[in-house]
Amino acid sequence: MSISDLLKFGNKRPDEPVPAPAADAPAPKGPETVVPSKALTKFIAALQHQDAPVLIDFGPVIGTNVAFFGEQLGCKLHIEDLAKDIDRQTRAGTREQLPEMLAARFPQTDASVDGVLCWDIFDFLEPVAARALAREIVRVLRPGGAVMGFFCTKAVDRAGFTKYEIVEATSSLRHRHHPGTGGPKFVLQNRDIIKMFDGLSVSESFLLKSNTREILLRKRA
């Protein structure tokens, strides 16, 4: 290798393949950001009308969120942590089992839940698994109940999990890295979302600066 090659390519040959990351390696850790959330404010407002509302959280447990929903809103919380399930199936290479697993995952009875915090879990599910999860959400949601979720607009081969912490008078969310192998991200078109949440209607939809759609769905009372 000549000196000019070294200057041009560093110590790496131009045709040298870039080593692929290990399949079970965690996705790169991104910066923490605080993002305003209009849907969250409306989601909380929907819960405040219920007496002792029941809430399902699909994300990993966060102490401040638990304190807010439990102590201040008087919610009964179900922490389901689907990120952990997806991480486990991705590492084991058994993601095809996700639809079946999600269909049998939730012990809640029909129409027993007032709110569901999906966060961005749908981004990490293949369409078949996403439909299975949406069916379960529609099943457990009470009339008048609300569902909040983020939906990406760009597919990604491999992404890490994000956890969302409520900050700044509940009008913002701190996006924080969460360890785990999320796997690929899938894009659901608006029509796909409307179709798979059959029985719910899109109450609010916001496009964030990050090109993520923040959507609030409601079940008709």
Partner: protein
Amino acid sequence: MWKRDDAVKPTPAGGSPTPAGHVQSNQTVNTSPAEPVRTSESARGLEGKGPVNIGKSVVIKGELTGSEDLTIEGHVEGKIELRQNVLTIGPNGKIKAQVFAKSVVILGEVTGNVTASEKVDLRDNGSVDGDIAAPRVAIAEGAHFRGSIDMQRSGKPAESKPASQPQAQSSASTQTQPQAAPAVAGQR
């Protein structure tokens, strides 16, 4: 030559005695529901100073009740009742039991429902697979939890909820303040 009587063994000088209230055993203690293990001062024959500590090697299967603070570093399966006291599950503690206590601090693993009349404190690297019922629940970063959390205060009337803007309560684990959207509030 003289044969030493094995029944009388001299205490090694400088050997560390078992601390007061510290249970250390390699045996598994099986208890029936009719005969729960009691962590009372009379049962220990101790002065009752300091918390009781169940050591790493202790395995208890059955019902564990008591009237003093208890730290568990071993394994317990069954039921734990310390209704007036603080129960601490140490980093090495592994519990498969229904837990009832005044306050529960979890640094180890718990599989089962946890009920506290005051507070449940799930610390970093602590893990709970089960339901938590307590007026206050603190969950640290890095803790694992799967189950439900019910923070309704039993025996107290349900507080009326503010219509539009509830005030933030002083809490060690939260700094948030809810803010409702009047437009949505009016829709319902």
